[in-house]
């Protein structure tokens, strides 16, 4: 019955080719009209029997989360005819989950300096972050927050009317010597939502065209240049090619490669996969952040803000164990330090619960009023998913996959780069920002509340760079008439797949393998075994079985395409992790417990000989995949150790990282 309906729909679409565009568009009015613009889209029949609509824009942004919206808004404001292609309604992007806040050295709670924030971020990244990008981000932070406020974001205020700033993990004063810094600005508990609402609302006034519930399939690449994106409309199954000189990838992370993660089911690494299929490298995918406090079981996040407001972690003996692992920062040490400490406590037998496989987050010593006002959502989440009353009992928590530091490699301007002949080379026409990108500001580990900052600073950077290097209304270079054919062929193949293994089964195999073999603590044998298993699971995609043959609102199809994307992220993650023989930031190995830098920074540097590039690990991993065989190839590129201006802000030389 469903197939019959969809057959009729397709027939209607293809037979409407003889009608003028204005009439044809009427059946899809809501996409082309509701948000203001009607472009003169043309229908062709170049690719198989799927009707294809071609659009021309000055810029296309894929993803409508914080980064995508900031980029789309900036571009529209600069006069560029911009399209934003998103599989979700903008205010439903995963950014809405962000309850923590944005870091900026405004100095409202105590004297502050962005160079201290710079230091904290470089140290937090375990010296894998590119210091020019970090300089850019931390210096722009105060101006970015003020700009957001001017756009209309109602930041929480202190009694004297200044923006309220709270403590967050890893933030210090005076280059780590002045105690805890209070830098995190928030809009009550809905910073993420406010950001999305404000940017989406403002961008509409500048006539941004939104293509909502369109699933982006692939980049349109020609001669190493990105000429746009091909996507399919879930509402009517039509294929759309968005041709543009400037494409921005802002598709978020890929937490769903793991069995337990705090991410929504939309975090499927679509952008990373599109870049991989285009033959370009992804960077540092082995660095997966485990948030210390995900609810045991469901994985729902308990924000770090809890610890910022005074919550503490305790083991089965009721001890505040973080005092041992991080005497200064204690529970507000960097996330990787806290996750590792929790895992050690569990492995040494001081875990809580009947299986002794988690620890407790205690909040009931805080005044109930403070909990209700500053951290309201916690009570519901704890009750529904853990059956716990936070004003009376502690919450069972476990380190849970939360963020991907790695992604599409870019320079500090947001341009996507490859590494050829020992030099960074810009990929023309392609940009990336947000969690999908790797600028790299977070390096081996991200500090809390730096992600929302990352979104706005680099979303804006992409818009600025595009405005600098191009003009609105520029003529587009020609594109092969059958561009995007393989993507449609793949879509068709998955839609009619008649193998023997269901999508959900393959997905579960992948998630369990990643969870067991590439989690908080990693070791050589376990990783090697995981690599072999993942390679086999990749091959099993050939035998995938889908059940919904329709073309309209086919969730089975979308989830299977997402699985393809997840698979590419997973194999690169585990192979990169297996190859990296050191511990750095979020990548912790039991068999290689120390950082392997070019010099041993634990000892005096005088008289030491610098190790050569292939003998140390303070470098970025670049991974590519042969799509047909699933073989992962790894390469490396150096970390950028200079800031943008040595006079303004001296780069921080590597040191041993302790809190």
């Amino acid at each position: 019955m469903m197939a019959g309906v969809s057959r009729i729909l397709i027939r209607r679409l293809s037979s409407s080719q003889s009608l003028p565009p204005s009439v044809r568009c009427c059946s899809r009015n809501f996409h082309f009209n509701i948000n203001g613009k009607r472009d003169d889209a043309k229908v062709s029949n170049d690719i198989s029997q799927y009707p294809v609509v071609d659009h021309h824009f000055d810029a296309v942004v894929v993803g409508a989360g914080g980064a995508g919206l900031r980029a789309a808004f900036g571009l529209s404001e600069a006069g560029f005819n911009t399209a934003c292609v998103t599989k979700l309604f903008p205010t439903r992007s995963h950014t809405v989950a962000a309850q923590g806040g944005i870091n900026a050295a405004l100095g409202n709670m105590e004297a502050d300096d962005w160079r201290w924030h710079f230091y904290d971020t470089v140290k937090g990244s375990d010296w894998l972050g590119d210091q020019d990008a970090i300089h850019y981000m931390t210096e722009q932070a105060p101006a970015s927050v003020v700009e957001l406020e001017n756009f209309g974001m109602p930041f929480s205020r202190t009694e004297d009317g200044k923006i309220y700033q709270r403590a967050f993990g890893g933030q210090s004063l005076k280059f780590g010597k002045g105690g805890q810094a209070h830098r995190c600005c928030c809009v009550a508990d809905r910073t993420g939502h406010s950001l999305l609402h404000t940017l989406y609302g403002r961008s509409l006034r500048f006539d941004t065209s939104y293509f909502v519930e369109y699933f982006a399939l692939d980049l349109l690449m020609e001669d190493g240049e990105c000429k746009g994106v091909i996507a399919f409309c879930m509402e009517d199954g039509s294929i759309h090619r968005f041709r543009s000189k400037n494409t921005v990838i802002a598709t978020g992370g890929y937490g769903r490669t793991y069995f337990s993660c705090t991410s929504a089911h939309t975090s499927t690494g679509d952008g990373n996969a599109m870049v991989t299929r285009a033959g370009l490298p992804c960077q540092d995918l082995e660095f997966v952040q485990f948030h210390p406090t995900g609810i045991y079981g469901a994985g729902c996040l308990i924000t770090e803000g809890c610890r910022g407001e005074g919550g503490i972690l305790i083991n089965s003996e009721g001890e505040r164990f973080m005092e041992r692992y991080a005497p200064n920062a204690k529970d507000l040490a960097s996330r990787d330090v806290v996750s590792r400490s929790m895992t050690i406590e569990i492995r040494e037998g001081r875990g809580c619960g009947p299986e002794k496989d988690h620890v407790y987050l205690q909040l009931h010593h805080l005044p109930p009023q403070q909990l209700a006002v500053r951290l309201p959502g916690i009570s519901e989440t704890a009750m529904i998913f853990a059956g716990v009353e936070v004003t009376k009992e502690p919450i069972p928590v476990l380190p849970t996959v939360h963020y991907n530091m790695g992604g599409v490699p870019t320079n500090y301007k947001g341009q996507v780069i490859t590494h050829v002949g020992g030099e960074d080379k810009v990929v023309p026409g392609l940009y990336a920002c947000g969690e999908a990108a790797c600028a790299s500001v977070h390096g081996a580990n991200r500090l809390g509340a730096n992600s929302l900052l990352d979104l706005v600073v680099f979303g804006r950077a992409c818009a600025l760079t595009i405005a600098e290097t191009g003009t609105p209304g520029e003529k587009l270079s020609p594109l092969k008439p059958n561009a995007g054919e393989e993507s449609v062929a793949n879509l068709d193949k998955i839609r009619f797949a008649e193998g023997t293994i269901r999508t959900s089964e393959i997905r579960l195999n992948m998630q369990k393998t990643m969870q067991n073999h590439a989690a908080v603590f990693r070791t050589g044998d376990l990783l090697k075994e995981g690599c072999d298993k993942m390679d086999a699971i990749y091959q099993s995609m050939e035998d995938i079985k889908t059940f919904d043959r329709g073309i309209v609102w086919n969730t089975d199809l979308v989830e299977s395409l997402e699985l393809q994307n997840l698979m590419l992220n997973a194999v690169q993650t585990i192979h990169s992790a297996e190859a990296r023989k050191e511990s750095r930031g979020a990548h912790a190995r039991e068999d290689y417990q120390d950082r392997m830098d070019e010099l041993d920074y634990a000892k005096p540097l005088a008289g030491q000989e610098k190790k050569s590039f292939d003998q140390h690990w303070r470098k970025h991993t670049l991974s590519t995949v042969d799509i047909k065989t699933g073989k992962v190839t790894l390469g490396y590129r150096p970390v950028i150790d200079r800031s943008l201006d040595q006079e303004e802000c001296s780069a921080i030389p590597p040191a041993i990282r302790s809190y």
């Binding site: 009550a188 089911h265 609102w553």
Partner: protein
């Protein structure tokens, strides 16, 4: 000019009305109310285009669309809650119920609001009150103590041949 004045007055009234009185006792479920430091200025000053019902959709198409929109939400809590809810109720909803559900999951701009209403941490606005909201609230209570570790796989929809 008058418009600006009116807006300012409305804002002020809005803020005063919604500021919680601190004398209010905090319930054991941690009633959220309106956080005193959330002026909601962005929601007031930057209204988004109003949500409208889709025309010309068959009930089957509505169900298919609502399935996708139940499973793909802004945060994990809603992904789990709504996809389990959809698994239980979506295929047997009447037309009126489908339209109520459509409005509930598509009109609110903050996914967290839907979660707070379902968990009764916040009162449900009148426009969303009704059969479906009651079903959702009841479902969320989880009286049968089901394990709710993740969203269900889609295969419950595979009836063999389509």
């Amino acid at each position: 000019m008058l418009g600006v004045l009116v807006k300012r007055v409305v804002n002020r009234v809005y803020q005063v009305v919604l500021r919680p009185t601190l004398a209010c006792p905090v319930s054991t479920r941690g009633y959220k109310g309106e956080a005193s430091d959330d002026s909601r200025g962005d929601l007031i000053e930057i209204p988004l285009p109003p949500w409208t019902e889709k025309d010309g959709e068959t009930m089957d198409m509505k169900r298919r669309r609502l399935l996708f929109q139940s499973r793909k939400r802004g945060m994990l809590e809603n992904c789990i809650l709504l996809s389990l809810f959809a698994k239980k109720y979506l295929n047997t909803m009447s037309e009126t119920q489908l339209r109520q559900y459509d409005r509930l999951i598509n009109e609110p701009s903050n996914d967290w609001d839907i979660y707070y209403w379902a968990t009764e941490a916040q009162p449900v606005p009148n426009v969303y009150a009704g059969e479906i909201m009651d079903l959702l609230k009841e479902f969320t209570k989880n009286k049968d103590q089901e394990q709710r570790l993740d969203a269900p796989n889609l295969e419950y929809l595979d009836k063999g041949s389509q």
